[in-house]
């Protein structure tokens, strides 16, 4: 890579050289020059290197962004205007991957089911919540019917945690009394309906049972009638009985027939009525089923069973009757045939023996031989005929039997079909009833379970309620306690404040009175103090005056009396006056013990000092030989100057000459300014200084003492002025 770059740079350099060197073949010299220049120029190297780096980075970034869209997105996000660059170089960015939309689809059905579940779930606790009053535990059907009605009525807010996905409008919870009233009302209504239903059912059941029984009875009567009829017919057919009884038999037969017909009619009627009642019952049952009152369900079931059994019985009886009828029909056909034959025979007999028509039954003894022969011939003929017929019949037997069989088969099939159909119907009904029974049982079981669960839930709810109530009670208790505490504190603070106020006012009054008293006392005291102060001041002044007076005791050459006594007096008298004490103790020891010289003496002494100082003016540390002494003495004699020279305001260095200083000092001292003279004398140097030392000390002492005393005096005066009261 480097080599490539190097080669590139080399090539670039060559072209540059070629261009620069004026299209001639670049001479070695020229090239070398350029290379040298380039190589030597460090700036050029750096610029080339940086350009290469930047270009390489950019190119690699673009390439990688082309390969990895995420990287591209990152760069576009972080570096501004990079997206434009990328678009220019690579084209628009690829669309971002859409995340799969699986979840929302799946959620929907779940939501719906959960919604229904939740709605179902919520119904139960709602019902439970509303049953919290101490009503007796409703029968589960009541609960269910309440739950069914709950959906239309209200949503409990307190069951919100179970019905998050609900979209029902959040109605407010009705108060418990209203709820219970509504529930009671609902219950009553349902009870009424139930009662009505059951009453209706029972009524219809009863009536249908009655009619069915009637019908059955009628059918059975029909059966018996048919049976009797048939029997009678049979008996009548037998013709074994004597003829006089035959008429009774035939009469009885007729009676039986009429009975049978009547019975059949009655049976028909009863059957119709029963069927009608059963239909009514079925209708009632259906309507009861539709009303969906579960309490009536077993009754409905029982009614249905009854209905079914009644139908079954009825059908059985009807089939019995029908079979009996068919039998009777056969019998009647037979009897008809017999009658026909008899009639035919009779006709033939009548034809043969016309005179024996009426009641040939009691005929046996009355008949002549001819009649008998004719009868026998007729009978033989008849017998022949019958034999022939029999033979014919025998021939046609098979066919007849087949036909009869066919017929019978058809009839049997029909009957079978009918029977099968009815049996099927009955079976179906049975199954349905059984199913219903099973359903009922299962329902009951479920009801029982639900009851237990509901009971459990009720228990849990009561527990929860108890807990919640407990917590609430505690909270309320605490609240009440707090409120009470706060109120108590308020009252207390109020009371305290009132008492405090009272105390304060009392204290204020007391303080005021006390202050006044104090004021009065202080006024008196201050008066006393003022007087005391005045006295003291007076004393101080007196003592200071005494001290001052002692100053005057200075003699011509002797010092004053020692100021000790006066100072002691001051100190004694003004022991509490600190200023005086300080001042008194500021007096120098010498003045106390020895006293001070007066100004006059100092003045006199000064002149001596002056003379001496003049004489030893030249003597100092360096010059102190006897010869110098001689010279200085000579100088003092020969130097003429004024004795007193007014000192200038500022001292110049040439004023520090001994003679001049002495002149200034003389002038000052003549004017009474000892202090200034002392200052000038202090400026002396050398032997003159030594000579003037003592005098200077004395002068200092005097000055100090005088200063202190003047201060004291001033202070005493001030104090006296302060304490004196203007009249």
């Amino acid at each position: 890579m480097l080599r490539v770059c190097w080669k590139g740079a080399h090539a670039a350099a060559l072209t540059l050289v070629w261009c620069v060197c004026g299209r001639k073949k670049p001479t070695v010299k020229c090239i070398l020059n350029m290379v040298f220049l380039f190589c030597r120029s460090n700036a050029g190297k750096i610029v080339a290197a940086s350009l290469l780096t930047v270009g390489g980075g950019l190119g690699s970034t673009i390439l990688y962004a082309k390969w990895d869209p995420k990287f591209r997105a990152n760069i576009e996000k972080s570096v501004p205007y990079s997206d434009q660059l990328f678009e220019m170089a690579l084209g628009p960015p690829p669309p971002p991957l859409v995340p799969l939309q699986k979840k929302p689809g799946k959620i929907e059905p779940l939501q719906i089911s959960s919604l229904s579940e939740a709605s179902k779930e919520s119904k139960q606790p709602k019902a439970k919540a509303k049953k919290s009053d101490p009503a007796p535990v409703e029968a589960p059907p009541a609960v269910e019917e309440m739950c069914n009605s709950c959906t239309s009525q209200f949503v409990c807010v307190c069951v919100g945690e179970e019905s998050k996905d609900h979209h029902e409008p959040a109605l407010k919870e009705r108060p418990a009394e209203e709820v219970s009233a509504r529930l009671a009302q609902q219950d009553k209504v349902e009870q009424d309906a139930l009662a009505a239903l059951t009453a209706g059912l029972e009524e219809s059941l009863g009536s249908s049972a009655k009619t069915t029984l009637q019908a059955i009875g009628a059918q059975e009567a029909v059966l018996t009638a048919i049976a009797t009829h048939t029997n009678k017919l049979k008996e009548a057919m037998d013709s074994q009985t004597p003829p006089d009884e035959k008429s009774t038999q035939w009469k009885a037969l007729n009676e039986a027939l009429s009975d049978r017909t009547r019975a059949m009619e009655e049976a028909e009627e009863a059957l119709l009525k029963a069927k009608g009642e059963l239909e009514i019952l079925r209708g009632v049952i259906n309507s009861a089923k539709q009303s969906k009152i579960d309490a009536a369900r077993p009754q409905i079931l029982a009614a249905e069973e009854n209905l079914h059994s009644m139908i079954v019985d009825l059908d059985k009886v009807v089939t019995k009757v029908q079979t009996a009828q068919t039998e009777a029909k056969i019998m009647s056909q037979y009897s008809e045939l017999v009658n026909e034959a008899k009639a035919q025979f009779q006709q033939e007999l009548a034809n043969i023996t016309p005179e024996i028509q009426a009641n040939w039954k009691g005929l046996s003894g009355k008949l002549s031989a001819d009649d008998l022969n004719s009868l026998i011939a007729h009978a033989h003929r008849r017998i022949d005929q019958l034999n022939r017929e029999l033979a014919e019949q025998r021939v046609r037997e098979q066919i007849h039997i087949e036909v009869a069989l066919e017929q019978q088969k058809l009839e049997d099939q029909k009957a079978l079909e009918r029977a099968v159909a009815s049996a099927l119907e009955h079976r179906r009904e049975d199954m349905r009833l059984e199913q219903e029974k099973k359903v009922q049982e299962v329902r009951e079981v479920m009801e029982a379970e639900m009851r237990t669960q509901l009971r459990r839930q009720a228990a849990a709810h009561t527990d929860h309620l108890r807990d919640v109530l407990k917590v609430q009670e505690q909270e309320l208790h605490e609240e009440a306690q707090e409120i009470m505490n706060s109120k108590m504190m308020e009252q207390e603070t109020h009371y305290r404040r009132l008492t405090q106020e009272q105390l304060d006012t009392f204290t204020l009054d007391m303080n005021a009175a006390y202050a006044r008293l104090k004021g009065i006392e202080e006024a008196i005291d201050s008066h006393v103090i003022a007087e005391e102060e005045a006295r003291k001041a007076h004393q101080l002044w007196l003592s200071v005056e005494a001290l001052n007076y002692t100053l005057k005791s200075a003699g011509a050459d002797s010092p004053t009396e020692p100021l000790e006594g006066a100072v002691g007096v001051i100190k004694e008298n003004c022991a509490e006056n600190e200023f005086a004490q300080a001042l008194a103790s500021a007096l120098p020891e010498e003045s106390l013990s020895r006293g001070i010289y007066g100004e006059a003496s100092l003045r006199a002494r000064f002149y001596d000092i002056r003379r001496l100082a003049r004489r030893v003016a030249l003597i100092d540390e360096t010059r102190n030989s006897l010869y110098q002494y001689f010279l200085s003495y000579l100088q003092s004699i020969l130097l003429f100057e004024r004795e007193q020279v007014a000192p200038p305001a500022k001292l110049a260095p040439e004023d520090l000459d001994t003679f001049r200083l002495l002149a200034y000092a003389t002038y000052s001292i003549e004017r009474g300014d000892l202090e200034l003279a002392a200052k000038f004398v202090n400026q002396l140097r050398g032997a003159s200084q030594r000579v003037a030392q003592d005098w200077l000390k004395e002068a200092r002492l005097t000055l100090e003492t005088k200063q202190v005393i003047s201060l004291l005096l001033a202070y005493a005066n001030a104090v006296g002025l302060g304490t004196t009261q203007a009249p």
Binding site: R605, V616, N624, R690, V691, Q693, D694, W695
Partner: protein, 76 residues
């Protein structure tokens, strides 16, 4: 009284010079008489000696204030 000090010094100095002079004179006389056959020079010498001593003494006395006294510190 510092002003008197000078006067005292001078007094002392004079007295001392008188004594020295006298003593020198005397001694010079003595010596001259005794040892130097009544020559004049011991007298003068003695007097001069005396005067010189007196001068020196006087000078020292007058200078004594300005002379620095030093002490050799003890080597530790």
């Amino acid at each position: 009284m510092s002003e008197k000090e000078l006067g005292q010094k001078w007094d002392h100095c004079l007295a001392d010079s008188a004594i020295k002079f006298g003593t020198g004179l005397g001694l010079g006389i003595v010596f001259s008489v005794v040892f130097f056959k009544r020559r004049t020079w011991p007298i003068v010498f003695g007097t001069g000696l005396g005067l010189g001593m007196a001068y020196s003494n006087c000078q020292n006395d007058l200078r004594s204030h300005y002379v620095l006294h030093s002490k050799v510190a003890k080597e530790q």
